[in-house]
């Protein structure tokens, strides 16, 4: 399909000022560019979880699987393995894929599955109206932790590096051209591409000033160097006062996950013959 409307007619219900608008707009730009380059948009599939981020499945006019909270990645795994020619993009939330579905995220990185995971990391649960997430800062006062969370956040980039991700980046929704370039690079990367995208939650964690004062672009960084990547990733622990680097921290070539032969088509007749051949070994 060419020349399609890239945004559906669904009513947009994100709060004014929400970082999700930027991510949607960025993806729309990427889709438009791909179409201009002659790539069919029918070959792109978006998988979203549940949360404010996930409404993007209703809004972008491409094939999508609006899945369950935390379960984007297993759905994306099935789709990618069933049809490796598809470009599969996961839009996840931080509560979604760092809390409810963390196991899947770690395993997709471990497998080096060839998908792109974009985490809309606003560091708070929006749709359930303001609870702490795994990346909320220590002491975050949410509706489930009114006196401040006693848990320190984990650093998702550090976790992904340890798990074996082969493309690790951090973006920020107020740095849109950089974000667009990084998502394009993530999609082009053969293997598991992970992007933690910082965004504000206009209603429950409006942290624009905090980010504006700390962000800077990675420069002079060797993204092939694991130790250097590790050091830079650990500069900011998602809680303290450190500077926050944006950019691609790590990238490496590695074999992508490709376990089987689902694409080996067999007619019903060939199937029946294979079954009979097997049974002959059991007489």
């Amino acid at each position: 399909m060419t020349g399609r409307e890239l945004i559906t007619g669904a009513k947009n219900t994100w709060c004014p000022g929400c970082g999700n608008f930027t991510i949607q707009h960025t993806l729309k730009n990427i889709l438009a560019l791909r179409e201009k380059e002659g790539t069919s948009l029918d070959d792109i599939v978006l998988v979203s979880g549940i949360g404010c981020h996930a409404k993007i499945a209703d809004y972008l006019n491409i094939s999508s699987f609006y899945a369950l909270h935390g379960r984007t990645i297993p759905v994306a795994t099935g789709i990618k393995l069933a049809n490796p020619d598809l470009t599969v993009i996961c839009c996840c939330g931080d509560g979604d894929c760092y809390a409810e579905g963390l196991d899947h995220l770690v395993f997709a990185a471990k497998r080096n599955l060839d998908i792109t995971v974009i985490v809309h990391d606003n560091r708070v649960y929006g749709l359930t109206t303001g609870q702490y997430t795994p990346t909320s800062p220590l002491g975050f006062r949410g509706r489930s932790t009114p006196s401040g969370t006693p848990e320190s956040p984990f650093n998702p980039l550090e976790l992904m590096l340890a798990a074996g991700a082969t493309f690790i980046a951090r973006g920020y929704t107020r740095k849109m051209p950089q974000l667009e370039a990084m998502i394009r690079a993530g999609i082009a990367h053969r293997g598991f591409a992970f992007l933690d995208v910082l965004q504000i939650c206009a209603s429950f964690f409006p942290a624009t000033d905090y980010y504006s004062q700390r962000i800077y672009d990675l420069a002079g960084h060797d993204r092939a160097d694991f130790s250097q990547a590790c050091d830079r990733i650990r500069e900011w622990d998602y809680s303290g006062d450190a500077k926050i680097a944006l950019g691609v921290f790590y990238e490496k070539d590695a074999p992508v996950f490709s376990p089987g032969s689902a694409n080996n088509p067999r007619s019903p007749g060939q199937r029946a013959a294979a079954v009979l051949d097997f049974l002959k070994t059991r007489v």
Binding site: Y66, I79, A82, N83, L86, D277
Partner: protein
């Protein structure tokens, strides 16, 4: 009816299952159809394992074992201590003379292995050779079975077996049976074969007894069948990956037991709402919770019928033996995709891990190809149709924006909370149950065996089929067995029970779950014979319990 029964027992790690498989093949080649029951505790080494092989010269597998045995093969003392009491003829006890004290015939295993410089693992071949002689099995049969079924070092194994064969005396010769040798498969293998016949592209599973045999079998044979086999991080991932495969146009099935299925229920409800087909192999073991991992039960019927939040149609079939497992697993694949519903193959340890004689399967009798999207106009994933089934297009289809959605959605797959659309879509999903019933009408959903004109019927489902059939025959009772459990086959069941005035439910659970379901559908059940100690019903025991009820 010529019936033979052999027990082989030893410690876990002694290779009882593979020795049992060789003995089963010997009996198969003597012209008997058979069932092998494998009893083992949930551990890797030590403990007492045994296999009971029951052969009959009728064409179909008995699907059950016997407690009284004709031959007892003891690799350890526990085998003699536990089973010799049910032994009909003490002379037919064949034992490892180095480790076991018993009446009967001892095989000097250590001496034989030393003389032939054979490794210790070939000790079982000595016992099997001794058994073959005691049972009067011709050496040509032993040689043929060893060459076909012991892939490594068949010559050395044969020399070991021959030495014991020459040492022992024939106690009672098993008469030649009437059957040609047939394939021997476990229920789990039969399920795998049926899935393949039904068009399986991918099998996704996390290991859990007693379902793991399907995973192991399909993983070992994936290249033969041209399928993908995946073992992901947990059962939550398992079912969601399967739904991903289905959304992208590949047919996937998953397998688990009760605990793993608990983790799948969220994904099951998603399959119901998003109308993504999936086949779920649910093999029951004794619960609740971890329960008895390696023992059987039928206590998850209610769970499978009701699992998942919300209301949506599903298909549940409970094959009674390997032959039915092949046919109905193929049909389950077809029905799941034809009606876009989750389809369950409800098995248990008795079926999954038991070995059955089975005829070579014919055509599973599936109707023609399933029609998809015709490519005209804009694709609507959830287009309203009279039967509720919307044309299916995979993500990645040219010219189609395919929107799959777990939220309440409109025909395009866009989220909605509009009351009228919510109602319309609920009605569309429900309509698929009627479509499912129409598709099922071409199949025999309820089986009848035993004395067909008896006015007393045993009502049974799943693997106790074999024990009930033999008990029904012994007592002159009708045996009525629904194979399709959901949608509840009320009409077929009432027809099968025509002229019956007393229904006795036989189930391996504590409450009579199917009996309650029957009662809720207006079928009065007067008695319930229940067993829930993890061990399957056997005919002799069942005859006793039925007789008690009828007294």
């Amino acid at each position: 009816m010529n019936d033979i029964s052999v027990i082989i027992g030893g410690k876990a790690g002694d290779g009882i299952n593979s020795a049992g498989a060789i003995i089963a093949q010997l009996i198969n080649h003597l012209g008997y159809s058979l069932y092998l029951y494998f009893d083992y505790p949930s551990l890797i080494r030590g403990g007492h394992n045994y296999a009971i092989i029951r052969g009959t010269d009728r064409p179909e597998s008995p699907g059950t074992h016997a407690l009284d045995t004709g031959f007892l093969l003891a690799l350890d003392q526990a085998t003699v201590d536990q089973h010799a009491g049910r032994q009909q003829d003490p002379a037919a006890i064949i034992f490892n003379a180095d480790l076991v004290r018993s009446a009967g015939q001892g095989v000097p295993v250590k001496t034989i292995l030393q003389e032939l410089q054979a490794p210790e693992i070939m000790g079982n071949s000595a016992l099997i050779g001794g058994f073959a002689k005691a049972a009067g099995i011709g050496w040509d049969v032993v040689e043929g079975v060893f060459r076909s079924h012991i892939p490594k070092a068949a010559d050395t194994n044969l020399r070991v077996a021959r030495r014991a064969y020459d040492l022992l005396k024939t106690v009672k010769a098993i008469p030649q049976g009437n059957n040609p040798p047939r394939p021997l498969v476990t229920g789990n293998e039969a399920i795998g074969l049926g899935l393949v016949q039904g068009g399986l592209d991918a099998y996704v599973s996390y290991p859990m007894t007693p379902s793991s045999g399907v995973l192991h079998f399909l993983a070992a044979e994936k290249d033969r069948f041209g399928i993908t086999v995946l073992h992901p991080e947990n059962e939550i991932a398992v079912i969601l990956m399967a739904l991903g495969f289905a959304a992208a146009g590949k047919k996937a099935a998953v397998g688990t037991s009760g605990g793993g299925f608990c983790l799948m229920t969220e994904g099951l409800s998603l399959a119901g709402m998003a109308e993504v087909p999936v086949v779920i192999v649910m093999s029951q073991r004794t619960g609740p919770s971890t329960g008895l991992p390696t023992y059987t039960g039928q206590a998850d019927l209610r769970f499978v019928i009701h699992a998942g939040q919300g209301e949506f149609p599903r298909f549940i079939v409970a094959p009674g033996n390997a032959e039915e497992a092949v046919v109905w697993s193929a049909r389950a694949m077809d029905l799941a995709w034809r009606c876009q519903v989750p389809a369950f193959i409800l098995a248990d340890k008795t079926l999954s891990e038991g070995t059955y004689s089975m005829p070579f399967p014919g055509d599973p009798g599936l109707p023609g190809a399933i029609s998809g999207w015709d490519g005209d106009g804009e694709y609507r994933r959830y287009a309203i149709t009279p039967g509720g089934v919307s044309p299916l297009a995979a993500v990645g289809t040219k010219g189609a924006v395919v929107k799959v959605n777990s939220y309440a959605h409109d025909e395009d797959g866009i989220t909605t909370e509009e009351a009228g659309t919510v109602l319309g879509m609920a009605g569309k999903r429900t309509a698929k149950e009627e479509s499912l019933r129409r598709e099922l009408a071409r199949y025999e959903q309820v089986r009848v065996s035993g004395s067909r004109d008896s006015s007393t019927a045993l009502l049974v489902w799943g693997s106790p089929a074999g024990a009930c059939t033999l008990a029904g025959e012994a007592l002159g009772l009708r045996v009525v067995r629904p194979v399709v459990l959901w949608p509840f086959p009320g009409d077929a069941l009432r027809a099968a029970l025509g002229g019956v005035n007393r229904v006795i439910a036989v189930e391996e659970n504590q409450t009579g779950q199917f009996a309650d379901l029957a009662a809720a559908n207006g079928i009065a059940v007067s008695d319930r014979i229940l067993k829930y100690d993890g061990r399957p019903f056997v005919p002799d025991e069942l005859v006793g319990r039925i007789t008690e009820v009828l007294r």
